[in-house]
């Protein structure tokens, strides 16, 4: 399978001496939906900045679909679409003009750009706002406008830097659905987000970056399988005064009608239900206490805690 993005030994040392990236290696295959996660200041935005040439690298090599960003600058950039974290469009221009102009910067004539802009604005629910000044759009609309803008030249690799920050749940879900469809059509997507359930739900592969190094790089499935235990919250029909004794399980009474049960890797949930049934306890609902990816993320990042000075 073709490699959409290849990063080798990428280093970035800022003028103030801060080493934001300490020689990272990363590979994203074509068609992947990839999560690039990390705490604030870990180096995610610096990495994205270097890929799209807004940040100059100190050392290393980056290829986009085999095109080196230094030697095949133009070809590499045509393959790439970027949705930055902060709004960076001209506020006084109209969405339609913003998209047509962006296409122009990629050498696409207005006749082609207008058709693409119309299609994208309609797909992202912005068609009715096409002639309004961009500053008048809501936060969610502005985010969608930036996605449309990044796609107008039809890149094969799309990088989204926290695209759903500050977006309400309904809008977030509609953006997820749009991105899933885009990915299904063949666009490789790299996503950074602080909503870990978003990454878990959308992405197949993941890298966690912390203090300028890649702390984890694997498939989502492999990463989640590293979890040794999960805590389930069980809501019971019966009320309890103390936690029941369930052989092999650690149980805490968290409320009159609820239990927290710790399940080790390899333990059977069926067995847990059998033990509860034996004590005439009936479960009305069940959920994870914490997001599984969030738990792993916290563990991985906690291992690197001492130096928290890095910023990006």
């Amino acid at each position: 399978m073709t490699t959409a993005l290849s990063i080798k030994q990428l280093r970035k040392v800022y003028k103030n001496g801060l080493e934001a990236l300490k020689g990272i290696d990363l590979e994203v295959k074509e068609g992947d939906f990839f999560a690039l996660l990390g705490p604030n200041g870990a180096g995610k935005s610096t990495t994205i900045g270097v890929i799209c040439s807004l940040v100059t690298k100190t050392a290393g090599k980056i290829e986009i679909f085999g095109q080196d960003i230094d030697t095949s600058f133009s070809l590499a950039k045509k393959e790439l679409g970027v949705v930055p974290q902060e709004f960076n469009f001209p506020y006084f221009e109209k969405p339609m003009d913003i998209l047509v102009n962006q296409a122009g910067y990629y050498g696409l004539p207005k006749s082609i750009a207008s058709g693409r802009a119309e299609k994208l604005l309609k797909s992202l629910g912005l068609w009715d706002k096409r002639a309004e000044q961009a500053r008048n759009l809501s936060g969610g609309m502005k985010r969608r406008l930036m996605i449309a803008r990044a796609l107008v030249h039809e890149p094969r690799l799309l990088i989204l830097d926290e695209p759903t920050a500050g977006v309400d749940i309904e809008m977030r879900r509609s953006m997820w659905s749009f991105l899933r469809e885009l990915n299904a059509q063949g666009t490789t997507i790299i996503l950074t987000t602080h909503y870990l359930e978003e990454a878990e739900s959308l992405c197949r592969n993941i890298a966690i970056i912390d203090h300028g190094v890649i702390a984890e790089h694997s498939s989502m499935k492999e990463l989640l399988s590293q979890l040794h235990k999960e805590v389930l919250i069980l809501d019971l029909e019966e009320s309890l005064e103390k936690a029941p004794e369930l052989d092999g399980f650690k149980v805490i009474l968290s409320g009159e009608h609820s239990l927290e049960v710790e399940i080790e890797k390899g333990q059977s949930i069926n067995q847990l239900f059998e033990l509860l049934s034996a004590q005439n306890l009936h479960v009305s609902s069940m959920r994870n206490k914490a997001n599984r990816l969030e738990e792993l993320f916290v563990n991985l990042v906690a291992n690197n805690l001492p130096d928290k000075s890095a910023t990006n």
């Binding site: 800022y14 610096t46 900045g49 807004l54 930055p84 001209p90 006084f92 990629y106 050498g107």
Partner: protein, 257 residues
């Protein structure tokens, strides 16, 4: 990007810049025309009547070319400086920086926006001047060539100012403390023949003196300096500001981290 794609990118930037100038016409086109009209009334008509002739023509005739050129210079400069700094400040310059558009196309696109505003304001001011005096054009080619070249030069200079500016204060320092004194001391309102020798010699180092005199020669056929030297100097300034602008745009520390 092949040549056709670069041309499309260039046209896109120019179209965007022209739209901007026209969208904010109350800020970009009207104020300079009002200011220069006041100069015509006060310096040309009211005070000029008492001054009499200068370099063999009426004071109003003498001052008109300088005032037209003053409008062209300040508007070319301020258009690019405010537009590019605005793009930098609001970060939408990143739209271009992440695209394959080469730096020289970005530079030329913004410069053409400055040239458009400079020439439009210059044209309006010229039309207004016709209400105050008869304008005879001595050499059409020299007049057009010098006004376009001047506009290009100051658009590039505005671009450099915008790239290096970090705050809104930085984009007003050059126009206030450099451009305005150079224009006022560049022979717009007087002939350098009137100056004492020391000041006359010092004026030879002012680039605007050459520009104003070449334009005055194009319109009236009178000049304090050599027209050939004027064109040579403006050409040199364009080359220098073009190279400097391109270097500023490419350098990592002004637009990129």
């Amino acid at each position: 990007m092949d040549f056709r794609e670069q041309l499309i990118a260039f046209i896109t930037i120019v179209r965007k810049e022209i739209k901007r100038v026209l969208r904010i016409w109350t800020q970009s086109l009207v104020p300079p025309v009002i200011t220069i009209t006041l100069y015509f009334i006060i310096f040309g008509s009211l005070i000029g009547r008492r001054i009499g002739t200068m370099s063999g023509v009426s004071y109003m005739e003498f001052v008109v070319p300088g005032l037209i050129m003053m409008a062209v210079i300040t508007n070319s400069f301020t258009n690019v400086v405010s537009s590019f700094f605005g793009a930098k400040f609001q970060r939408f310059v990143e739209e271009m920086l992440v695209s394959p558009t080469p730096n020289y196309v970005i530079l030329l696109g913004f410069a053409m926006g400055g040239v458009f505003r400079g020439l439009v304001v210059g044209l309006i001011v010229t039309i207004v001047a016709l209400f105050f005096t008869d304008l005879q054009v001595h050499s059409v080619s020299i007049t057009i060539a010098i006004v376009v070249m001047t506009s290009v030069f100051f658009s590039m200079a505005g671009f450099i100012n915008a790239v290096y500016a970090r705050t809104f204060d930085d984009i007003s320092i050059i126009p206030t403390f450099v451009l305005t004194p150079l224009i006022y001391l560049g022979g717009v309102f007087y002939s350098t023949d009137m100056l004492p020798e020391f000041w006359s010699t010092l004026s030879q180092f002012n680039p605007i003196l050459y520009i104003v005199n070449a334009f005055r020669y194009g319109l009236l056929g009178i000049t304090d300096v050599s027209v050939g030297l004027s064109f040579a100097m403006v050409t040199l300034f364009i080359v220098i500001t073009f190279i400097f602008s391109l270097r500023a745009l490419s350098s990592a520390n002004r637009l990129r981290s």
